[in-house]
């Protein structure tokens, strides 16, 4: 089974039915899988804070939401995470491509990578780092944890997890 399919299977098994995405090359496979699943309403966002607003509304409407985005989005969404998701105590699994890690070809991506974990730690956001494919075995438990505690939770997925960047 492809890793993208396994990830989306875990979302579906945990009743996540509203997913917003902001694209990333690393996440293309999982975004395609989200789009293909009839159990999931897929709504692309133009910016990640907008996506978190959509997720907040969906949660209050009775759906379990999730957001899929790049780690650069942490820089965009600090205010939204603090004053919406955390302040109103809402759950939000954040599946994040951890750009700027080992095997990264684009130097500028490293500039946000070096801040990513520090920012998440500063925000007291539980953070999990998927480096090997077997790390995704924990996704089911992470999703259950997120909806148990009503917090945003970060799942960082680096280039090694996704199998590198091919021939870039």
């Amino acid at each position: 089974m492809s890793i993208s399919r396994k990830i989306v299977d875990d979302f579906v098994a945990n009743d996540v039915s509203f997913i917003t995405t902001v694209p990333c090359k690393q996440l293309a496979g999982v975004i395609d899988e989200v789009e293909a699943r009839p159990e999931i309403f897929h709504i692309p966002s133009n910016k990640e804070d907008e996506g978190m607003g959509l997720c907040a509304g969906a949660f209050m409407g009775g759906k379990r939401p999730a957001i899929i985005m790049q780690n650069t989005a942490i820089g965009v969404t600090i205010n939204t995470l603090a004053t919406l998701t955390q302040y109103y105590r809402m759950p939000l699994p954040m599946l994040i491509s951890y750009r700027g890690e080992l095997r990264e070809p684009v130097a500028c991506q490293v500039e946000m990578a070096v801040h990513t974990k520090a920012l998440l730690a500063q925000m007291n956001i539980p953070t999990y780092h998927f480096h090997k494919e077997s790390d995704a075995d924990e996704l089911d438990a992470i999703l259950k944890y997120t909806f148990m505690c009503n917090k945003p939770v970060a799942i960082l997925t680096d280039a090694s997890f996704w199998g590198g960047y091919g021939d870039q």
């Binding site: 607003g53 209050m60 105590r89």
Partner: protein
């Protein structure tokens, strides 16, 4: 009319529906005029009233009215293409366009100058965009609700504020009672 006068006039219409209300004075005014469990007050996060309302409308069947301002829509202009391309016929976006950032001291917005949000909404693909004057807001809002079609209303009014206290209700209480009203 200024925004608080519009809200006072449309409060009896809003009362029967789920309302997501913009940060700052709009929420404080609605809270003072008709606080009830079907109101979701934004205490932070400028710009996301339309996004929260759309997510809510897509997730369940009850009518949702997002009350937004011209300044807040400009802050999150990417919301309009998302709304246009994800039609929820139980969703109404009411943009109270006073051409100013009311909660921060009435600094002018670009919507009060050359930019017309109704044109932006149409260019983004929104199909039912209605422009009205302040005094007609109630009538236009009721028509939009009755139409059961997703509608963007841009209501033009004067800038100006009234003095009133901040909302001290706990955010989790606001959210919890709102979710019970959504589910009820």
């Amino acid at each position: 009319m200024i925004r608080s006068e519009i809200l006072r006039e449309i409060a009896p219409i809003l009362h029967d529906h789920l309302v997501v209300c913009n940060i700052g004075l709009p929420s404080q005014e609605l809270h003072m005029i008709d606080d009830n469990a079907k109101n979701f007050y934004m205490l932070g996060t400028m710009g996301l009233s339309s996004s929260i309302g759309l997510g809510l409308a897509l997730a369940q069947d009850k009518t949702v009215i997002s009350i937004d301002g011209d300044g807040s829509v400009l802050t999150n202009l990417g919301t309009l293409p998302t709304i246009a391309n994800n039609v929820a016929d139980n969703y109404i976006l009411l943009i109270i366009d006073n051409g100013s950032y009311g909660s921060t001291g009435d600094q002018p917005t670009y919507a009060g100058k050359k930019t017309k949000l109704e044109n932006v909404a149409k260019a983004c693909g929104c199909e039912n965009v209605v422009v009205c004057q302040d005094v007609d807001t109630g009538k236009v809002l009721q028509e939009a609700i009755d139409s059961k079609q997703m509608t963007i209303i841009v209501t033009k009014c004067d800038s100006g504020n009234i003095k009133l206290p901040v909302i001290t209700m706990d955010p989790v209480v606001i959210r919890d009672r709102f979710m019970k009203a959504v589910a009820g």
